[in-house]
Symmetry: C2
Subunit: 565 residues, 2 copies
């Protein structure tokens, strides 16, 4: 899609279709595209937004903070080098000039329409004024760090399509930089709107560099993971200075949003002591331990204004972490969860004072009947700031299938206003997702997001459903595959029983076989008896004869020793 | 579970658990069991209910209708024999003595408490009077043909646990008797509460015999499929006599419930003419074609009273088919669907006049926001007769993942009162499910049914969730696997990254690794800082110091050219 007047060209996926049996054309369908342009991963993507960013004349490039091998963890220090150092272009970091604020929220509040806003308006098929107004009100965000010009702008807010985040990242136990870059590209290929790099293992800095330079979508992180690495995993040794330095390191690399667990207050920690599963957020548990160990308030809460000032200079968005989210149905909607939410609401408004974009993270594990009130409560307390939830899972008894248990809750919570869903893969609670798990997780969440868009009556949401259904009725098998979220899987499942080419145009499938294909029969009915009006004439003729028929039928009744009553 | 007074012993699965780290015991959990006793499939299951049935002294055994090779379809006739003829015991069929009615509804209305009612009361953990009252009111059914004594009684009704049906059956295109018996046992192993044999291919009669003699759960069928085989697939050649004879054939074999599309009225057919996907029910399309071709009313509607009389003699339950259900979101909640529902409500009450048990089938494909009104409308019109729905799918764009698209709708519709969910497998719309698809479909639907039970606050529904969550927090990995719906899959996913034995007791998994395990950290917090009261003391000590700390922290602020405002 093109906005020629402003030189903006938004890539979409066009799905072509064959004509209908009656020869009428089935128009191609344009589908939202998250894949980004193809590129050589060792060079990275072209910096799409560079001109827009510098064109505003409010940023300066500067000498970055001193890079240190400890940024890549102990083994890098041991080796004396980071492994697989990024070889592509290295641009000096940008930040707002002194006194300037470079957030999309700031521009929106000033009434300025940026190219980023025009880009997302084209992507969403809405008026750009809606984009600006939702940004200005804090009801939507465009995560767009000035140091991540490769990313294609996208918007997160309940007035727009429901978005999906995919988590990747290595852990102390497994996986490599190449694996993570591959997972990034794989996740966006299947429809991830943003990706979080949750690496906690070796080469954190360098892995993130590779991911950012190759990512067409916004990248989120949880900086406390890297900060903890820098103190060798001893959370009591964490300090605000180490954390702040890590945040600046990541701002300079181009991270678009960061999870900040500033709502885990010292006085809330005791509220979790009687829980079945305690604190299940990694960041939440680290900070809770820190608070108690030091008899001090959470340093992220105490230094929140400084974080706002930093984020305002790079346009990094807050993802206010729910460090006290419930980890099981039994702990759902408890005092700890809701106390933290009150504090996240307070922090949302403080960030807005700095024109810093904010979304609020949500659970987790919630019984189905309590899901709705979670989003309605957050929306009310946080004045409509975008809600970003993990599922929620609606039962705890299906490890290995938690992409499903959580997609059920995700559809419900998105229907009532959650703006972005963090995917859950089949490996949740069991291990690190591999390539197949990432694909399954993303597609499952695309289903939840789409079902919610349809339920919300989001403009145009049902076009793809209707196109696929029409293709189904017209036995356009290839179009059914092409219009589906996972064409390869749909086609291979079909081919397991009917692999031959003719089957691609057959008026039946192996489910019912030719004789029992209901859709073939209903097509025959239309062929034999015409349209609704003609069918009605036939039916009425039948009615006239009905009474007589009934008597005749009644007369023939035979039963083995019929029971009369 | 045992009702010694009445000599009833209900098998359950006991899940044993290890002790908690503090040495306290975690009691074993008793779980509803659908598997049935082990048996030699060539001999079939023991006739559990025979004594109960004959003990009521209201049935007679008689010479069955003449068996005919055409019952097994054309190829059997060609071969001159049915393949894999059933070799196990052949009992002469039973039916009600003249003037008697042998349905569980009849007994309940007479205030009689049958062993079947006691059996389900034990299974459901409720008072037997609730079972009797719900049966008498028509709000629940116990599908229990007097000729299927092998089946363990189970109940379908919204006052009880949500049930799951699995469809099996061969088609003209594929599969064998052995495959279907294997699928039956496989489906019940994973938790199918009933199974429908939807065979449309060869050896229909014999396949059904093998299935019934080996089924510990009620078996449902769609008799019109076999009737159509008997007229060589020419639906215009169908007659009431052929259909009735097929129904009696299946009553004598022991089918527990039958889908009867008696609501597809001649005058409703034109209402489907402008649909995107027309009529997607096989039975519905067959009858619609028949009605128009003959200018006559649906013979199932015209002969409905005779069907009631037959069903009353064997205790076969109606599953009133929704032959005009929508086949896509675009056709949901249209005039054809709701016109048929009005007729199904009328037929429900007619069946009740004969004390015949009834459930009503429902959609299909429904956008998420319209799901609730579908069940509420059915419950109101049908005076609470059990609703039995297929999904519904909440989007049409994910062939290959329709177990998920439909489980989302299934959870919602069950939450508001649907009594049984018909599973959908990943192969829906694409091909016939294989063994893995059956397992995936059943487990996915157990998730939906369980999530709905929890949402409904069904007594005891959350015990398993809470037990698994406690096992998770206590790092009892083996118990987490054992308590899950699919222990093998959970364990193998865990072992992919941490196969070693010690990992089964490790206080972390590969997701976060040791350093980042939030639950380990929150356990450490409890170890270091004690219970809620002690933690509160620590926190308050921290509060006292807070003001000073804050000033100190404020004084230390350093930012690269901080922005002040």
């Amino acid at each position: 899609m093109v906005d020629a007047a402003h030189g903006i060209d938004v890539p979409v996926t066009m799905i072509n279709q064959d004509d209908a049996p009656d020869g009428s054309a089935n128009p191609p369908l344009a589908v939202y595209r998250t894949i980004g342009p193809d590129c050589d991963v060792t060079r990275g993507l072209p910096p799409l937004r560079s001109g827009w960013i510098t064109g505003r004349d409010d940023v300066e490039s500067y000498q970055p903070r001193g890079r240190d091998l400890s940024d890549d963890g102990r083994s890098a220090v041991r080796r004396g080098a980071a492994s697989q150092e990024w070889k592509g272009e290295r641009r000096p970091p940008l930040r707002a000039r002194a006194g300037a604020t470079v957030t999309q929220m700031h521009y929106a509040r000033a009434g300025v329409i940026t190219p980023e806003m025009r880009y997302v308006a084209l992507r969403e098929g809405c008026d750009v004024s809606l984009v600006r107004d939702e940004l200005a009100a804090g009801r939507a965000i465009i995560p767009a760090n000035v140091n991540h010009p490769e990313a294609e702008p996208m918007i997160i807010g309940k007035a727009f399509g429901v978005k999906v985040n995919a988590n990747i990242g290595n852990s102390a136990v497994t996986s490599s930089i190449a694996d993570e870059v591959d997972k990034l590209r794989w996740a966006t290929r299947w429809g991830a709107d943003t990706v979080m790099d949750l690496s906690t293992g070796d080469d954190i800095h360098t892995t993130r560099e590779w991911i950012l330079r190759n990512s067409p979508v916004p990248i989120g992180t949880v900086p406390i993971y890297q900060a903890l690495e820098k103190v060798d995993g001893d959370h009591q040794a964490l300090t605000w200075e180490i954390f702040r330095d890590t945040v600046i390191e990541q701002c300079e690399q181009g991270v678009d949003y960061m999870t900040i667990h500033a709502g885990v207050l010292l006085r809330y920690v005791p509220l979790t002591a009687d829980r079945v599963t305690g604190i299940v957020s990694r960041g939440g548990s680290i900070l809770a331990g820190w608070c108690l160990a030091h008899h001090r308030e959470n340093f992220l809460y105490e230094h929140f204004d400084e974080l706002c000032e930093i984020f305002a200079r790079y346009d990094v968005a807050f993802s206010l972490g729910d460090g006290l989210r419930p980890g099981c149905l039994a702990d759902a909607d408890d005092a700890a969860q809701f106390a933290e939410l009150d504090t996240l609401a307070e922090l949302t408004k403080r960030a807005w004072e700095y024109d810093v974009q904010v979304m609020v993270e949500g659970p987790g594990h919630i019984p189905f009947h309590l899901v709705r009130e979670n989003v309605e409560r957050q929306q009310e307390l946080c004045d409509g700031a975008p809600f970003y939830t993990l599922g929620p899972l609606v039962t705890d008894i299906a490890p290995g299938y938690d992409h499903i248990t959580s997609a059920i809750g995700a559809t419900e919570i998105a229907r009532y206003g959650t703006a972005m869903l963090c995917y859950v893969t089949p490996k949740e609670h069991l291990g690190l997702p591999d390539r197949d798990d990432v694909k399954t997780g993303v597609i499952t969440y695309r289903i939840a997001a789409h079902a919610a868009d349809v339920a919300k009556g989001h403009p145009g949401a049902r076009e793809r459903d209707d196109a696929l259904s029409k293709a189904r009725f017209e036995f356009r098998w290839r179009d059914q595959f092409g219009l589906s979220l996972d064409p390869q899987t749909a086609e291979s499942m079909h081919d397991e029983t009917l692999p031959a080419e003719p089957a691609k145009t057959a008026h039946f499938c192996s489910m019912c076989g030719p004789k029992f294909c209901s859709m073939r029969i209903s097509q025959d009915i239309r062929d034999d008896f015409g349209d609704a009006a003609e069918q009605r004439r036939v039916a009425e003729a039948g009615m006239a004869a009905k009474a007589a028929e009934f008597r005749a039928a009644g007369g023939e009744v035979y039963l083995p020793d019929p029971v009369r009553r």
